[in-house]
Amino acid sequence: MTLWHRLVSIVRWIFRRNRAERDLNDELEAFVDMAAADETRDGATPAEARRRAVLQLGGLEQTKECVRGARHGAWLDVAGRDVRYGLRQVRRNPAFSAIAVATFALGIGGLAAIFSAFDAVLIRPLPYTDAERLVMIWDAMGQTDITARHNSTPAELLEWRRLNSVFTDLASTQPGDATLSGGREPERVPARKVTWTFWSVLGVGPMLGRVFTENEDNNGARVILISHGLWQRRFGGASDVIGREISLNDEPYEVIGIMPQRFYFMPSREIDIWMPASFPPSMRTNFTWHDAEIVARLKPGVTLDQARQSMEALSLQLTAKDSRGPHSVVIIPLREEIAGRTRTALILLLSASAALLLIACVNLTNLLLSRGIARSREVAVRAALGASRGRLVAQFLVESLVLAALGTVAGLTLAVPAMRFLERLVPEAMGAVRLTLDWRVLAFSTAAAIGAAVTFALAPALRGSRVAPLEGLRDGGRSIAGPRSHWFQQSLIVVETALAVVLLTCGGLLLQTFQHLRNTDVGFRTEKLLTFETQLFRYKDFDRRVAFINSELDAVRAISGVVNAGAISRIPFTNLADATFYWLEGQPRTEIPKQVALMRNVSRDYFATVGATLQEGRFFNAADQASTLPLAIINEPFATRHFGSRSPLGQRFKFGSTGEKGHWYTIVGVVKPIREAGVLEKMKPAVYRLHEHCDQIGTLETGIVVRTAVEPASIVPAVRQAIWSLDKDQPLARIRTMEEIVDRQLSTPTQSTELLGAFALLALVLASLGIYGVLSYAVTQRTNEIGVRMALGATSNQVLLSFGKRGIAVALVGLAIGIVLAGIASRLMQTLLYGFRPDYITTVIAVSAIVIAVAALACLVPARRASRIDPMIAVRQE
């Protein structure tokens, strides 16, 4: 008998059920007819003959039942009956069912929604060939305090490609914003300069056209690949765009390829243009040009650890002769790099939602246990009528599965809107994701739901079905909950209280961190501040760049509603770029490699515009001109690092890369630190120069900040017109208010705090419902006993206390276990605390107070009910 045979007959049975029934009916009728015909021949009357024939068959219906039982699909019938019975039970106890379904729905819905985000960010394959073998390589420059890891240099890339033994190949990407002009209004788009190896390292190619060759890269060919988005947006998806010349940074470039829609790469999903890196000769040998992000593919069989060891050694050897001393590298899997902190957040949230589901299950187990005890009479009747233990267990299980199925459907329905919210958790370095109830999420949630349903249903089913018929019937419907049952229910309460405590504590820590981040002093006033960026490469020499910045500031200030406007080379919070080595007058040159500061070029009234606070000295003023001595303002970390309590005013420094010919910058002021690198990053030393004094190291873009008296977004059209009246090909890029920038930065902490907070509150509610349920059930069970005790002289206060104490004791055990677990959990979520040390003890005390208060409340209601029992009535109930 093959499995196939069996399946076929089951399927046939399902589809041809009616026919099979008819067949069976006809066959047995034929049997009766033939038997009756024989009986008639023996001389019986037709009616008597038929009666004997049916008797000979052993009863028409009974025989049919026997045949049905022999069919392969027979168990389906039984299951179907159990499901129908289960549904009837659901309808019969609407309140119980609603609570059970809602509890389960919350658990499953939360898990499904979080899993969809978890899957999208951490499990789904990245859009590269064999992406798990891709790593990012950073320089580990432990000796500077800008950051522990740093972009690498093109020179390092070239050497690594030549000398390494662990990668099949390496590629670099460098920032390279591009301005598209000609034809339509000018547009600035994020671009990356990539080496020709980029495509083969990632293992991706264009959907249309081709990639550039090694020769094109080396010879600085003007060819680009564009993103699917840009192709659609600017070129209307025209297929003849391949081979077309477009104006990029005022130079003609040929479009040679279009990347697939799904393609993206670090650092942002918004990159629209990939152009050849074409390292200039100076960059090829210079180990100080740290603007390259390196991606590499591990050779088959090489582990991450081997690659780390090998590359650290290689890097130390290569940089041994570097003026700044040898330094090592950091290798991080691409997936980890892309997911960043979101990874920890998602792991935390997935654990939290699993914990919530577990709490929901514990509650359901308790509910079912209580109900199972109440139903012992029904079970006893069924057992007496011949139902086997197995059948009873199966039926209990099916009933629970029916509840779980309804809960799962409700939960998945809840999960869909939650996914819209979770989409914002997807990191910026990753392609935009539309979270849906796809088969992966469905399969996971279904598996989780079945697992959870069996978990919560098994104990009640086993216990509920264990009934000695006689005892159950004789008991007159009164329960038979033994001490073991109480013990089991109470340990369930301990479990859920402990889980709730863990969630609440973690939630509390995140909340504190979030408040800390929100309240972080960023060093200036963020409200009513509009920011955007303009490009300076269009103006060929330094004087024209300065002139353009000054005239654009004048034009913006002339707009009504504008209070002031200033320029800065990089808008605060946006990045770590533009850091450079420096040395103070009087320092030995050997100090240079240890000293890095962020470098910002600002206009005269930048500090006034953003509302920065002066700590010492002065800001730039009208007297400071291009012709006067180069000046600098430093921030507090810079001052503290070098001068301690001495005044830095009048001290001078030079930038390391400009060598002996560099200007001496004289420090004239100290500003209270501004969060240049972002709200979440540590404060870095920074120097600010007047942009008229930046002829030696300048930048080709500039950020403009506009302080407005009106809603900042409302002046955007006027600002555009003002800039275009100066230069019609000047695009305005990244127009955002400062508050948007801050919100965007805080989106991961905001969302993880909100979600974990929601989970923690739900957990608290469910746990308190659990305590309430178990205790109030115990009161109902023990009404009789309480009555006797009161009749024997116990006061109602004593009864209240004895019940209240028991509930609180259980909650306290849960609390103690929870606090221990929370200690472990809080260590695992360190990265989500952004270096902030939340007050753990206070959090634990607050959580304990909340849990005890809620538990007390949950105990009080049933305990009061117990204390008000009238002994006469209670005893008479017997």
């Binding site: 008998m1 049997f31 024989d38 052993g58 009974q62 025989t63 045949v67 022999a70």
Partner: protein
């Protein structure tokens, strides 16, 4: 005299043996069983029909509706090739069992 219950596990063997000669309907099988056993066996349709169904589902028998000699429609069962193989195997095993049982009983 009380009739005998059919020994466990032998009903299939008897059904197959009866059907190997010619296709037959359920009533016919029960009558033939009674006759062949010299009216010793109590043939209970409550186990005969489930057996027929099981054998059909397992592909040992094939059923078709045909007219009886009295012109009544009835479901006839016929042995398939796989049924024939099963019969051979069962018969071979039964022979061994009965010889073994007999020698044990005689030896005692």
């Amino acid at each position: 005299m009380d009739k005998l219950d059919i020994p466990q596990g032998t009903l299939d063997l008897m059904i197959l043996t009866i059907l190997v000669r010619e296709p037959m309907h359920g009533y016919g099988v029960s009558q033939r069983l009674a006759t062949l056993s010299g009216d010793q066996f109590r043939v209970n349709p409550g186990s005969l029909f489930p057996s027929l169904y099981r054998l059909e589902q397992d592909g040992k028998l094939k059923a078709e509706w045909r007219a009886t000699e009295n012109n009544r429609r009835a479901k006839y069962y016929r042995l398939t090739a796989s049924g024939r193989r099963q019969l051979d195997q069962h018969r071979e095993r039964w022979n061994r069992v009965s010889v073994a049982v007999a020698s044990v009983l005689e030896g005692a």
